[in-house]
Symmetry: C2
Subunit: 234 residues, 2 copies
């Protein structure tokens, strides 16, 4: 009843016919689909089999309108008057996001952050395999981090190839980030998540995302300051 291809619903659903170009999902919707997926997997773990757009939306912190619109980019996997089957929907979102692929992640930088990321449960549990961690410091190379040993960043290209890495996380100082990033790209890895607090330049066709923790605090600061300075139309 819920195998991805053999489900009866797949016959009715507005799935893109084989061979057709899957339509582009708007960026804002992609980001939220990952949230729905997490909520669905929580429901699944709790043994919940069916959910309405209303309650899934509430669990995800969005309006039911936004949720249904977002799901409509993926396909039409609900039943009017009834709701969505949790497992069935979860599988289809996963497929649409490309999470059925085999993602192998290497972390460059074995400082505090790099080590924390290497040991972060959330990666493995969501299907991302951490296969290597690198550092430039010879005192750190060879150390154990979780299941891994720290590789020398000098061997970056070799190790990336050997491990079949297709995603890289940069957890290194701003000063060296661009140089390492260039090597990663040259080595053929086109998906990069950077924690380095610099604007990295990458060629077209490379997907670069950035997480900047200080930026997040600065955005909080802006809102906090506004809240503290109340409407003083003196």
């Amino acid at each position: 009843m819920s195998s991805l291809d053999s489900s009866p619903r797949a016959v009715n659903g507005t799935v893109a016919p084989a061979g057709e170009i899957a339509k582009q999902i708007p960026p804002a919707a992609v980001a939220r689909l990952t949230i729905y997926l997490r909520a669905l997997n929580t429901l699944l773990a709790d043994g919940v089999e069916r959910v309405s757009s209303e309650s899934l939306a509430e669990a995800s912190g969005v309006s039911s309108s936004t949720l249904r619109k977002d799901l409509s980019y993926v396909g039409s996997y609900g039943t009017r008057g009834v709701g969505y089957e949790v497992q069935y929907l979860s599988r289809h979102i996963s497929a649409a996001l490309g999470l059925t692929h085999d993602w192998k992640v290497a972390i460059v930088g074995a400082g505090n952050l790099g080590k924390a990321l290497a040991r972060y449960d959330g990666f493995e549990s969501r299907g991302f395999d951490v296969v290597a961690i690198f550092d430039a410091d010879q005192l750190v190379v060879g150390n154990e981090v979780g299941w891994l040993r720290v590789s020398d960043v000098a061997d970056l290209e070799t190790v990336l190839r050997r491990t079949g890495t297709n995603m890289v996380v940069l957890a290194l100082p701003a000063a060296v980030a661009q140089a390492v990033c260039d090597r990663v790209v040259a080595a053929g890895v086109h998906s990069i998540l950077s924690f380095a607090p610099v604007m990295l330049q990458v060629p077209d066709g490379v997907n670069l995302r950035k997480v900047d923790m200080a930026t997040e605090l600065q955005i909080l600061a802006y809102h906090a300051q506004r809240a503290q300075t109340p409407d003083q139309t003196a």
Copy 2:
């Protein structure tokens, strides 16, 4: 020439008159202003005194149109035909973002991530003082992390008050995040940055931001998968 209030430009500029309500800056612009600020501070460190919207935009990875529009929300601090004074603009953006306040940050969770955050240079260097770190594990309480000793999360309220904390970073498991978040809010801290992979519910007036590292990888996966499946209009 560049003190925030005594500059001659402050006379001409479209600064909001004292006592008037500062206009709300759109969220997308706030996020980018933090990027401009970082670029400006890099220029400042390099001894650059003046910059055009064109080159600051390039360094920040946005169009000059977007940059000038964003700056216009802060005020009018450039000189036509000339450009912007780096230090002068940097100060005004800082002021607009509320970064001249005294921000005291506590981290809840002294696991790998919490420890990495406590030692992260980027916080201190951008004016955020990490004043406390908490954990529930008695084996961890009392340990040294950077300059700090780990406090017992049982003493959360007391320590937050004593240290004058006004921002909290949650670096703890999904299962306990909501309960701790509730206590933080009850203790009067209204700015929270969460790394826990759950949707937290907070009352109105509380600013909550989320960083989810696995979500970032999932978004990369979506784009990578699309790139790999090329235009097969077979």
